[in-house]
Subunit: 355 residues, 2 copies
């Protein structure tokens, strides 16, 4: 059994170093283990111009100690406003790659690209300049577990239309992505994170909720993780490290939010009324809430009535220290204050005597 391991320092081909105090805190961890790292440009504001890129590189280098031999590989954000001329500026500024985030797909992806087709002149310029196109490969709006798979058609199209452009599918998380990258030319590769080689969706939601392994793309099924691990350990050069290490202050991550359960009681009928109405089946509501259960349990139908009326109201954020389902939601149906309760006392009496 190997007891010592001597290897080259890593090149982390996908990292978030952030800015300011957080940058100063996280940089030493990377600088001590990596020789280089491809620094993502989704800062606030993002790295859009060559000046942004130079300034960001300077702010990183200022924090490096003399003994550090760490080289930040700089990227710019491919935005809807990016032009071929800007691509050339970035090249001159020493950019390594451009990173494209579909609009709204992850942290700080606001203002991202909505239609990837519109940027063909930009990809062309990147191809000509030898700049790598790094893709956050998810389609926003698609069901979370399918977002990456839905993106693969776009990847295939870009690979076909720009055969000389180097493209990296960042932080691949699915067996589908691995298969696709394997089938495409050698100009298409994928980074794999460390955490996606370890976790599945179960680590996020399978037991208690664990915000610390919540990320985009979300971890998938065990078979997907197995495919990533197989790719990572296959020796195929299409797959390499991009850690996607992404620090968030503990305040925005940490919580004891593990307990499982949704508190619907305060809004139960308004929710159901709205839901059934939206489905065009308000006439089925009462059977669902007040008949079928009784019949199944061989109980007489209850003889009490409750009223809702159409009035817009907003659910409180808490009831007695508990956050209700749909807190802050504006409902169209409201419980009427006066609900009739015929035979109320009689029913209660029956209940007590049955104990």
């Amino acid at each position: 059994m190997t007891s010592n391991l001597r290897i080259r320092k890593a090149d982390d081909m996908h990292i978030h170093l952030r800015q300011g105090e957080l940058l100063a805190k996280v940089l030493p961890h990377t600088a001590s283990q990596c020789a280089r790292a491809l620094v993502m440009p989704n800062t606030t504001p993002p790295i859009v111009t060559a000046d942004d890129l130079n300034n960001y590189r300077n702010s990183i280098q200022k924090l490096l100690k003399t003994e550090d031999a760490f080289v930040p590989l700089m990227t710019f954000r491919v935005m809807p406003t990016t032009t071929p001329a800007m691509v050339k500026d970035h090249k001159r500024a020493g950019a390594t790659a451009g990173k494209l985030y579909p609009e709204g797909v992850t942290t700080n992806s606001e203002g991202g690209v909505k239609d990837l087709q519109t940027l063909y002149p930009v990809y062309k310029a990147m191809e000509e300049e030898g700049l790598v196109l790094c893709l956050h490969g998810e389609v926003p709006g698609v069901f979370s577990l399918d977002r990456e798979t839905a993106f693969l058609e776009t990847l295939r199209t870009l690979a076909k239309d720009f055969p000389k452009l180097k493209i990296v599918l960042e932080h691949a998380t699915t067996a589908d992505a691995i298969d696709t990258v394997l089938k495409l030319s050698a100009n298409v590769a994928a980074t794999l994170t460390a955490h996606h080689l370890r976790i599945t969706l179960d680590d996020v939601i399978g037991d208690k909720l664990n915000p610390h392994v919540f990320c985009k793309p979300i971890a998938k099924r065990p078979a997907d993780r197995d495919a990533l691990l197989k790719a990572a350990t296959s020796g195929n050069p299409k797959f390499f490290l991009g850690s996607d290490s992404a620090p968030h202050p503990v305040e925005s991550k940490e919580c004891a939010c593990g307990a499982a359960g949704v508190y619907t009681a305060p809004v139960l009928l308004p929710v159901l009324a709205e839901t059934f109405e939206s489905a065009g089946h308000l006439d089925k509501l009462e059977s669902f809430t007040s008949r079928f259960g009784a019949e199944f349990y061989r109980l007489p139908l209850n003889e009490q009535y409750i009223e809702l009326h159409r009035e817009s109201w907003t659910v409180e954020n808490q009831y007695g220290g508990v956050v209700p389902f749909m807190a802050g939601h504006r409902f169209a149906w409201k419980l009427s204050s006066a609900s009739s309760s015929s035979k109320a006392n009689k029913t209660k009496q029956t209940a007590k005597s049955s104990a």
Copy 2:
């Protein structure tokens, strides 16, 4: 458009009322909208004996106001220790149903049933006594999204072996469950929650992490929600309300834990070394971390080296206010303090000059 709705009060056939102060807080919400509710027995300690059941009913009834006409329908927990004699005691105490939680499947399910077959005498007694068997239908240990589907074979078996036993699959969340319940006899039904008719997994993890809709079983795909909604609104009496309303104090739910990203940098190489070694491919580590990326990016291989050695150590819970990946984990590989850096200054020089 209907502007007023007058319906019977609900029978909520699956509710968590908790105990003590929380019970006092949540009960009015249910009592004001429901005539009856089937009260779940996974309290702390659980409702196991007829005395437990009577005491719990009393504690609920003591909190009801004179004008309330709410009847709690009581349940007992079917435990590995439950006997046919205890079933008869529960019947005498006025129990409506017995609730079975597979071990470890949800909140307060510790000490649950590991082998459902061992309880056949109990189901037989329940069948004879006319007590309903309520099932939390998930198989623990299976991948989260498949847990309910994996349970359906057990449901079919129980329905076959106890044709006169009334069985409720609680809080169904999948199209598979709906299909199965539809195919089984009229003695098998399913409760549906309000929230599962509204949300999918995307509401939990699709954007920011939302602990307030995190529950067991976890919400599934849009097609599953559609199947639940179709069942709920179909008019088929096999499907009725069980809200599964489950209050947790805000402290155990609330947080700003939405930010997406995993902070791997402090432990990057120890994680990868462990991961590759476990996979039997430690020899592939360096290519993955330090070669393929460079080659793809057409960079010279870096000339710096880092060392890890086999030493057990535990990852800190925070680094500079950020929680790292695998915080608290005990690793077998540790970074050696002295890492060699040949050509360090030269590399840095090159980096700066390229800017």
